[in-house]
């Protein structure tokens, strides 16, 4: 490649030499990562390739590269999430960034004023990158409109969770060596899932088939118009899937009448050893965590041979390193 260098090569060099930050125009043009829907297939591939280059950082004895040395990353979480925050923190630290946790409680009143003021105040302290989690769809867009630093969406309402989508896709690519042509099932509470939406957009762009499986009350028909297959009888279709990604089911859903009981849900849509017998022999089982063992997935399956759940967690680090690295680079250039 001449002229524009592929950022994954940058990352590789970084990992190899463990020194120097480079400023050049890159194939990744975005300062922020707010959703996968707005990315192209090439841009998604750039992130995956960059993540691959970062992967061995995690396996070395000194788990650091200086890509974000002297930079400040703020974890701005308006909604609790120990796992995602920890993953972002470790990823930022492996890039040598300084990391601050800001756990904000949203009060019932003046949320907007405080959100806008909060992010402006944080930015004024010289922050380079905000990692944001919020219970309202679109909140990271509001934040990005109000600051000049990079903003990474770590989950907004039911809208998107782009880094989770990316790490899922990364895990699939790692196991299957391709995305194109695979049939990926996402099973469960799709309606309320930002993970499902990010997976849908990312996987479709890379050429996979995406199938949503779950009760009619949790898998709305409208997703067909966005390109997903919709199924409500898991047993009838389970043998079609190369990957089965099980979503967490929340107990609160029972009181909102989307299904009558967790037992019935588990009977119809839970991934058990029994049901696994009908799946493809090389099926890859995933879950964004935390798992309700015995509800959406039996313990045997979660811990079984086909489960990629812990690999997903490990890959989350590389993917988040890649995203922070690329967004920072784009912000420096632009």
């Amino acid at each position: 490649m001449t002229g524009v260098r592929h950022p994954a090569q940058d990352a590789k060099r970084l990992v190899a030499t463990a020194s120097g930050t480079e400023r050049e125009s890159v194939a990744w043009p975005h300062r922020d990562l707010l959703s996968l829907e707005e990315l192209t297939a090439d841009e998604i591939t750039v992130i995956l390739d960059t993540a691959e280059a970062f992967e061995d950082v995690s396996t070395r004895s000194v788990k650091k590269v200086p890509a974000l040395r002297g930079r400040v990353v703020v974890n701005l979480f308006f909604e609790d999430s120990t796992r995602t925050r920890t993953s972002f923190t470790l990823a930022a630290q492996r890039l040598s960034a300084d990391v601050i946790d800001f756990t904000a409680r949203t009060s019932a009143l003046n949320k907007g004023e405080s959100l806008r003021d909060t992010v402006r105040n944080i930015e004024a302290m010289g922050v380079d990158l905000i990692v944001c989690r919020h219970s309202a769809s679109g909140a990271p867009y509001l934040i990005a409109r109000n600051v000049n630093c990079s903003v990474i969406n770590a989950g907004d309402g039911r809208h998107e969770h782009p880094t989770q989508g990316l790490l899922d896709i990364y895990t699939i690519r790692q196991a299957k060596k391709r995305i194109d042509g695979l049939n990926v099932a996402i099973v469960g509470d799709v309606a309320n899932s930002r993970v499902a939406r990010s997976n849908l957009h990312g996987l479709l762009k890379l050429g996979a088939e995406v199938s949503f499986v779950g009760p009619t009350t949790l898998v709305p028909k409208a997703f067909e118009q966005l390109g997903a297959n919709i199924y409500h009888n898991f047993d009838a279709v389970i043998d079609r899937f190369d990957v089965i990604n099980m979503l967490r089911v929340q107990r609160e859903r029972v009181t909102s009448n989307v299904f009558p009981s967790l037992e019935e849900y588990s009977r119809l849509f839970g991934l058990t050893n029994e049901r696994m017998k009908r799946a493809k022999p090389d099926v890859l089982v995933m879950h964004p965590g935390p798992i309700n063992r015995g509800v959406e997935m039996s313990a045997d399956v979660a811990d079984g041979q086909k489960s990629a759940i812990l690999r997903q967690v490990a890959n989350g680090l590389s993917v988040r390193m890649a995203v922070m690295f690329l967004c920072k680079q784009a912000a420096d250039v632009g």
């Binding site: 003046n110 309202a136 769809s137 509001l142 907004d156 309402g157 039911r158 409208a222 997703f223």
Partner: protein, 436 residues
Amino acid sequence: MPDKTLVIKGGRVIDPSQEIDEVTDVTIAGGKVQAVGEATGHAAETIDATGKIVCPGLIDMHVHLREPGREDAETIASGCAAAVAGGFTSIACMPNTEPALDTEAMIEFVYRQAARADLCNVFPIGAITKVREGKELAEMGQMVRAGAVGFSDDGRGVASPAVMFRAMQYATMFDKALIQHCEDPDLAGGGCMNAGLTSTRLGMPGIPAMAEEMMIQRDLLLARNTRARYHVSHVSTAGGVELVREGKKRGIDVTTEVCPHHLLLTDDCVETFDTNFKVNPPLRTREDVDACIAGVADGTIDCLVTDHAPHGREDKETDFQNAPFGMIGLEVALGLYVKALITPEHCDWPRLIAMMTINPARVLGLKKGTLEPGSAADVTIIDPEMTWTVDTSAFRSHSRNSPFGGWSLKGRATHTIVGGRLNHVFSHENVVSAQD
């Protein structure tokens, strides 16, 4: 009140209440319309209306003034200034203030503040239930004595069929319309935009069209049984328009209204997460927009309203789900109606003006919306060809929450005459208001 004669010369006078549509003069004296027809005598003052439309003062029967309670967003005075700037000589204000307009004293308060502002007529709509809670009937009789022109719990519908049934029964005594914000709260369940493809995509809780349709259907049954006068607020769905159409055919005393945004915008506008597109009822689909336009064209929809709903910047500058519902409309509505209805020839000027004058006057029982000799001289002069660009920073409203900033529109009120007094004049060259 000026006693001298004012003649509006040579305009296209459109008064649907008298089926007038001709180029002629309107003579005003002593704050009243003296005559429609060629002016012969001496006039102290004349306005040349050549090329313009001269019509009864426009009426907006669905406006939110935030006084009392949220004067930072709008006062009765600032709302009136916005009204006359948009060509409205009369507005009816909804009772969802803090506290609500649910007593005689609150109705009197609105009249007093409107008299102080002295810019246009303000007609308060009283709450159906105390504190708009949907539980106990508000003192409708006493509010009528104080001048309430209709009843509504607008901002929410009366959820209980039993309460609505009693309210309708009771209101028939006063011959006032019950104006319902049709939205079943159970089905709407915390939604913040139309339930559909876009809400699914964005992961936003949706308000299904069914929530509107179900309450209209229920209320039509109640209205048939009580013979109450029933008015569907801001209809937004194809199903809602169809229900009203059928209700009228069955002889139920039902009327309805539509807002400019439900004639021009669809729910995919929300994909930017711009809170200025958050409105209740929510922006719907193309199919719903087309049905609303068809409802205007065939007369199912009686009135055009703005649902002017001011919100301060700090309230709207939040994430979409937590932002308040509403957009302002008084200063842009006329141009938006022209864009939605006149330019694409869905209706003509006489019909448009009827929907903004005599029709709302009839729904609310006002002696307004006409140029009949002897009636109060509320007159609006419209330049139907004037093109202009919406500049929200120039609004007289205290608020700026309009998604139409930057839109190029055709048609604008140039003169707003209230009770014979010229309260607003607009031209590209000079902007003068009675308040300036």
